[in-house]
């Protein structure tokens, strides 16, 4: 489950999940939902895999979301399904989505970057939660 939250100049994304891998997947979808207004119209037809190395969970989250942002900027690709798995060196992700098509997809925000300001990745009594502020 993900949502956006208030920030004066920019926009925050927040997600929660039972597991850390679920959390990272939700945060990825949250990022794409800020870029594409109708993410539910993105068909999971093109598969891609990504690896991100790192140990610190917060830096890893920033790096993961930054990889997704680059993928969008560079290839106009957005994912509507994401699976994440952690391993000793970091994380691997399987994405399913497609190249955005102006006729079907409404692009909404240009995300400049994923910031470190008030960045949170936490284990809660119900599972996991994270917050990130995006520079818009």
């Amino acid at each position: 489950m993900y949502e956006t939250f208030e920030h004066t100049a920019d926009l925050g994304i927040r997600a929660s999940a039972d597991t850390r891998q679920g959390l990272f997947a939700e945060m990825g979808l949250a990022l794409f939902s800020v870029i594409v207004a109708n993410l539910d119209e993105v068909r999971p037809v093109v598969r891609r895999t990504l690896r991100v190395e790192g140990q610190d969970p917060e830096y890893l989250l920033v790096d993961w979301l930054s990889e997704l942002l680059y993928l969008y900027e560079h290839a106009s690709y957005a994912a509507s399904r994401i699976d994440v798995a952690f391993d000793a060196d970091g994380m691997a992700a399987e994405l399913a989505g497609e190249k955005l098509d102006a006729a079907r997809h409404r692009r909404e925000h240009e995300v400049k970057a994923v910031t470190y300001h008030e960045l949170r990745v936490e284990q809660t009594s119900d599972g996991w939660m994270a917050e990130v502020i995006l520079d818009i």
Partner: protein, 488 residues
């Protein structure tokens, strides 16, 4: 209207339009925080966590005099937006990419013309439509100018001179751009492949968020002499452009922050926010960032030059006259997200310091050696975009900016409503129709984008400008009202 964490720390009156956060507020602050605001604006500023960020910036090693904030201050990431801080390399001063921001050399340029409102009024709808079709706006839209790796590196090394060689800039355009659009010491080789990927088709594109291209009319002149020198007069049509270094610059900042992750620990720097990551100016990490930052800044000046060039072409096509004949000359181009090495008096000594301006405009006074000759007597034009319904301003730098704010003034109106709150506030409304009733033709790629940027989301720019005028940082020259706007 309010965001969750209102500032509850001390704000002591330090003058008619200045408020102090004493360095005793937090252990680790090296200097006071100083916020320029009148009694009305300070109440709005208290509703926002931005003053906490002013206090956090005061932790930076080598910071001089005070951590400053302009009246358009609002909550940013790390640094507040509207912040100014100067650091001295001789006192272990640091450079902080967060003090420049992701959008390196985001800035504003103003193009004047000899057209009067009545000349363009019958064509406004077509003019705005043509601008919207021809000038790339919004996310995911590349421009018509494409540069390969080698060309991009040359562009980042030379700034708009690179474009002049391709007949996309004039000598006069370059003369009236801050730093002639080219910071010395740019190191295009320090700009990553990924940044080049993001930038290759984005030079000459507007972007989204608060970036815009506006057609404006001079509404009122406050300083006739300065306005005459700049070629501005009542009813005259101008074009204001607000954009920065696009994906290339965002990536340069992102790369630098990754490189600096270990720097605070390596150099023994205590910081209250990771987004303030920094390194000593003369460290390898600091020098790497500065080389890449200057290259991205030069890219941004080329971006605004190409945006202006396209605007001239659209005016020509729509009105059927060459732009030179319509007197469409650049008044000035100024950066408001940048770090620059400048000479300033600190206490009894004049010295070189690194001035970080994060949402603050350089405001050099008359006689400053960096001004174009034509502006020596009046001071540097300070361009302050407001919101798209009310007004924007042209000011000129005053001596007070050198004695008080490291040669800086405000950069805009400053947000007062979060993006989420603005969208809620706009629910069920057509912002473009509302703007039309105010006499503004607006075109945008996204309804949400327009809702987030609606006039109510911003402070009244007139109040912000009053503060910098009354504080002696910059002087009012002319007020401009929007008549057409394109956005992402």
């Amino acid at each position: 209207m309010k965001v969750a964490n209102r500032f509850t720390g001390p704000l002591e009156r330090a003058g008619d339009c200045c408020w102090r956060i004493p360095k005793s507020y937090k252990e680790g602050m090296r200097v006071d925080g100083l916020i320029y605001a009148d009694d009305k604006l300070i109440e709005l500023i208290r509703q926002d966590p931005a003053p906490e960020q002013v206090a956090n910036v005061a932790f930076l090693p080598g910071i001089q005099t005070a951590s400053l904030a302009m009246p358009d201050i609002h909550w940013g990431y790390g640094f507040c937006i509207g912040g100014v801080c100067a650091t001295d390399p001789q006192e272990d001063g640091v450079i902080s990419p967060g003090g420049v921001g992701y959008d390196i050399n985001c800035g504003v340029r103003l193009l004047r013309s000899e057209l009067e409102f009545d000349d363009v009024a019958p064509h406004m709808k077509q003019l705005v439509e043509n601008l919207f079709q021809r000038v790339p706006t919004g996310t995911g839209r590349g421009g018509k100018y494409r540069f390969d790796r080698d060309q991009l590196r040359e562009l980042m090394g030379d700034g708009p001179r690179f474009l002049a060689r391709r007949d996309l800039a004039t000598e006069r355009d370059i003369e009236f751009t801050e730093a002639h659009g080219c910071l010395d010491g740019a190191q295009p080789d320090y700009v990553s492949e990924r940044a080049l990927d993001r930038g290759y088709d984005q030079c000459g594109t507007l972007g989204s968020g608060n970036h815009f291209l506006e057609v404006q009319v001079v509404d009122q002149v406050f300083d006739r002499q300065a306005a005459d020198v700049m070629g501005l007069d009542e009813r005259m049509v101008c074009v204001m452009i607000h954009s920065g270094s696009r994906g290339l610059g965002y990536q340069v900042c992102d790369d630098a922050l990754r490189l600096l992750r270990g720097a605070p620990a390596k150099y023994g720097i205590q910081l209250p926010d990771r987004q303030l990551a920094c390194a000593p100016i003369d460290s390898p990490e600091g020098e790497h960032y500065l080389g890449a930052m200057r290259a991205a800044a030069n890219f941004a000046w080329c971006n605004r030059q190409l945006l202006m060039w396209q605007a001239r072409e659209v005016f020509e096509a729509t009105l059927g006259r060459p732009w030179g004949e319509m007197g469409m000359e650049l008044v000035y181009d100024v950066a408001h997200n940048i770090a620059k090495c400048e000479r300033h008096r600190v206490g009894e000594r004049e010295k070189e310091v690194w001035v970080h301006r994060k949402g603050a405009t350089r405001a050099f006074p008359p006689g400053h050696e960096e001004l174009p000759e034509a502006y020596h007597e009046i001071g540097q034009p300070v361009l302050i975009p407001g919101d798209m319904g009310r007004a924007s301003w042209v000011l000129v730098g005053q001596p007070g900016s050198m004695s008080e704010s490291f040669g800086s003034a405000c950069h805009g109106a400053g947000r007062v409503m979060s993006r989420t709150a603005a969208v809620k506030h706009a629910r069920g409304r057509r912002i473009d129709d509302e703007l039309a009733t105010r006499g503004v033709v607006a075109r945008a790629r996204s309804w949400k984008g327009l809702a987030e940027e609606q006039p109510d989301a911003y402070k009244n720019v007139d109040l912000v400008v009053d503060v910098v005028h009354n504080a002696g940082l910059a002087k009012k020259v002319a007020r401009l009202r929007p008549i057409g706007v394109i956005k992402g």
